[in-house]
Structure formats: C-alpha cells, structure tokens
C-alpha cells in the first residue's frame, strides 16, 4: 500500500495524524491509510447506519425497566451531551454514574448535578479509594504492561487505566441492577469505529476480562480485583449492550457546548488545557507526548477532521497545545512519581 515517498510525511494532509503514530502507513500523496480507506461519503453512510441501529436499540428498551440505560457520566461536554441525547431525544430513563477520581475540576460535580437536575435524572457519584487510584495512576506511568501496546494510539496510559476502571464500574452496576444498556460519551478515535454498539455477555466472554484482571491484580495487588472483575455467568448470563452514541453524532464542540448551556452546564475554568472535566488529563498528555512523540488526542481529533466537526486550524491548535512541566508537577507529586519522571 505504501508508495515511494520522495519526502518523509510529517502528518496526514487530511486528518493530521502524525507519522510518529505507530502502525500508520501513508500513501504517496500524503494520506494516512485510515483516510485512504474511508471517503467522506462512506463515513457519512456509516454514521447514518449507526444511528438507525442505535434508534432500534433504544426503541427496544424504552420504558421496559426502571432504568433503560446507565450513562458513564464524567461531567465533561461529551458525556453531558450523551445524557441529554438519551433522555430528551430518545426518551430513555437513565441512571447517571460519575466516578470521582480525585482530580475532577471544581466545577465538574456542579455540572453533573445541574445537568441531572435539568434532565430529571438520578445521579450517583462513586469515589474509589484515593489511595488505590493514586497507586494505579503511578503504576500506569511506571509500567508498560497494564495495557495492550496498541492502547497508546487511543489515550495516555493514565487515561486508559481510568477509563478501564470507569467502564468496569458501569458494567458492574448494570449487571447488578439489570440495566440493559451502558452508554459512554466516547468519541470516534477514543474507541474503535465498531465500538459504537458492543454486546457484552460477561459469562461467555471471560477470557479478555480474566487477562485484564490478572494484569491489574499483578501490578496493584488483590485489592484491585473489586474494581476490575465482573460477576460471571451465574445469573443466566445477562447481556449488556455498550453504546457510544457520540459516534453517530456529527456536532462541533461549540454546538455541543451551546446545547448544554440551557441545562446549566458551564465550562470549568480550572481543568487545564485538554479537558472539560478532569485535571489529570494534562499529566497524561504531558507524559504521553514526550514518551511517544504524538498527542494522545491525535486519533480523536483526526476523526473529527474527517467528520468535518472541527476546523483544521482548531485541530492544529489543539495538537500543538501541550501542558508544561510546571502545569503538571503537582499532580505527579500527588500520585507519588519521582521528580525525574517528568
């Protein structure tokens, strides 16, 4: 596939994915192989098909249970929009669950409460042991065996660990409360394209989970098991459908924020450079960019460029905005990283 390259490609001319992203090949005219494989019309057709699939799923579960869906609610703009979409446009009764990882910006929980109040949604805030999460973040930086090698393409190691804990918690609660749908606010690039709708049967798909639990327990001790294990098939192998509705939504960041304003959602002012809810993102971005030579948001920004929901200038600005050592030192210290880790 890769043609001769007269000059080395620095980044894809369409989606700005950098040549430093591992596993990526470029065509002779400067397109990455992901862009070369999917045209704009195909991407739009995919999105339409996905929306139809999601609509059918929602219709099947509307009003059938006390809660039709659990929303992994970070309080950021994307999961806030996801919650609004499911409640207002799809008519699903949702339970919002926010995981407080100890680094949420001051305004985040206010946003969670305001949006849930406006949408008439029940909210649970789960705060895992601070000592455990700080050890987990430190291990995420210091070890390279917690996540599969390809995870570096999607997120920083810190974010990957946090996301794994959060996703598992949502599944645990869904299985416990018999909620058929778990919705995340992930964007294209943060999860695979086919990650928009995934059916999970924990009892029958135990192999990947067992390997994951063993890695976290190996690194962090038996105490990790409660955060990463799922109940097995004992209860008739219930099925949970994991959805990421944002993969079917083509809205710019500005449009999303404008839609959230009437619900009382406000852009927090202390989230650092790279997030609308979590301050720890900046430490993840800082370490990831230095270690791997590309921004951990490169994949999702590439998807937004392909989908036309971000301008080239805004995308380049995001990719070029990196936190400095002084922005992140306090977080590194709090999770116990030695000073030379930065």
């Amino acid at each position: 596939m890769t043609g001769p390259r007269p000059t080395p490609v620095q980044a894809c001319r369409r989606c700005l994915l950098p040549a430093t992203l591992p596993g990526l090949a470029f065509t002779a005219d400067g397109l990455c192989d992901l862009c070369a494989a999917t045209g704009e019309a195909e991407a739009e057709a995919e999105r339409v098909a996905l929306r139809a699939r999601l609509d059918a799923l929602y219709a099947a579960h509307r009003g059938t249970r006390p809660y039709a869906a659990i929303v992994a609610y970070s309080g950021g703009k994307d999961s806030s929009y996801t919650l609004k979409h499911l409640v207002e446009e799809q008519g699903l009764r949702c339970l919002a669950i926010t995981v407080d990882n100890g680094f949420l910006s001051a305004g985040t929980l206010d946003n969670c409460r305001a949006v849930c109040a406006a949408l008439d949604v029940d909210l649970v805030v789960f705060t895992p042991s601070r000592r455990f999460t700080e050890r987990m973040y430190r291990a995420s930086v210091e070890r390279d065996d917690l996540h599969a090698p390809a995870a570096v393409k999607r997120a920083s190691a810190i974010c990957s660990s946090c996301i794994t804990l959060i996703n598992t918690h949502m599944l645990q609660r869904a299985l416990e409360l018999r909620v058929p749908i778990v919705a995340g606010g992930y964007l294209g690039g943060q999860v695979p394209r086919d990650g928009a709708v995934m059916t999970l049967r924990p009892g029958r798909q135990a192999r990947i989970r067992t390997a994951l639990v063993n890695r976290f327990v190996g690194a962090l001790g038996e105490g990790a098991r409660r955060y990463f294990d799922l109940p097995g098939a004992a209860e008739g192998d219930p099925e949970v459908v994991v959805v990421n509705p944002m993969l079917g939504v083509a809205l710019s960041e500005e449009a999303i924020k404008a839609a959230l304003a009437p619900l009382g959602w406000r852009q927090p002012t202390d989230t650092g450079l790279t997030s609308t809810n979590c301050r720890l993102n900046d430490l993840g971005v800082y370490l990831h960019s230095r270690r791997h030579g590309f921004h951990p948001y490169a994949m999702e920004i590439a998807e937004q460029l392909r989908g036309g929901t971000i301008s080239r200038e805004a995308a380049a600005r995001k990719l070029g905005t990196l936190p400095g050592r002084g922005d992140v030192a306090w977080m590194a210290e709090r999770i116990g990283l030695p000073a030379d880790a930065l």
């Binding site: 596993g23 990526l24 599969a148 090698p149 990650g195 995934m198 798909q205 192999r207 990947i208 994951l212």
Partner: protein, 105 residues
Amino acid sequence: MSAQTVLAEAMAPAEDPAVKEAVRDRIRDFAAATFLVGAGEVGPDTDLFEANVIDSFGFVELVSFLEQTFGIAIEEDDLTSPEMATLAGIERVVTGKLRQQGALR
C-alpha cells in the same frame, strides 16, 4: 479491500495453499499494524489475550476486520471460541468459513 481483490482473483477452494497463505499474510499484516506486535514477538499459538496483545477494543477491531476483509460472518460461538485467541486459530476460523462458503468471495 486489497485482500478481497487478491482472494476474489484466486476464486479457489480454501484448501488451496496459496489462499491459506494469503489469509495468513493478511491477518499477520493486520495484527502487526493494529496491535503493534512484530512477527518475532507473537507466535502462531501465542494466547493473544494472556500476552496482552489484544484487549476488548482490539477484539472488536479484529472481528470487524475479519468480516469486512474476508466477507464472512463471525458468529457468537466463534467469539467465545479459544480459537480466536491465537493467530493460527483465527486463520483456521477464517479458512473454515471460506471453505463452508464453497469458494472465496
């Protein structure tokens, strides 16, 4: 896409060693580019889950790659089969399905 063309041109039953080889190469190339593991790091019988090569997102990517590239349907029984945990097993699943279809699309 390109593998589909190669295989369509072959239009041969899956027993054809050249087709088996094409299937193997295509899967290896995909695994190398997607899971970022070199040929030397993972053997045909390495358990890809235990070796931390494929996580749950990776598995989703693998399944849709197989379905789209080879024009086959990965069924629920395949998803839970231990065959899906190794490169050699995945090749057997694919060639088995191609054989069932009588010819390669």
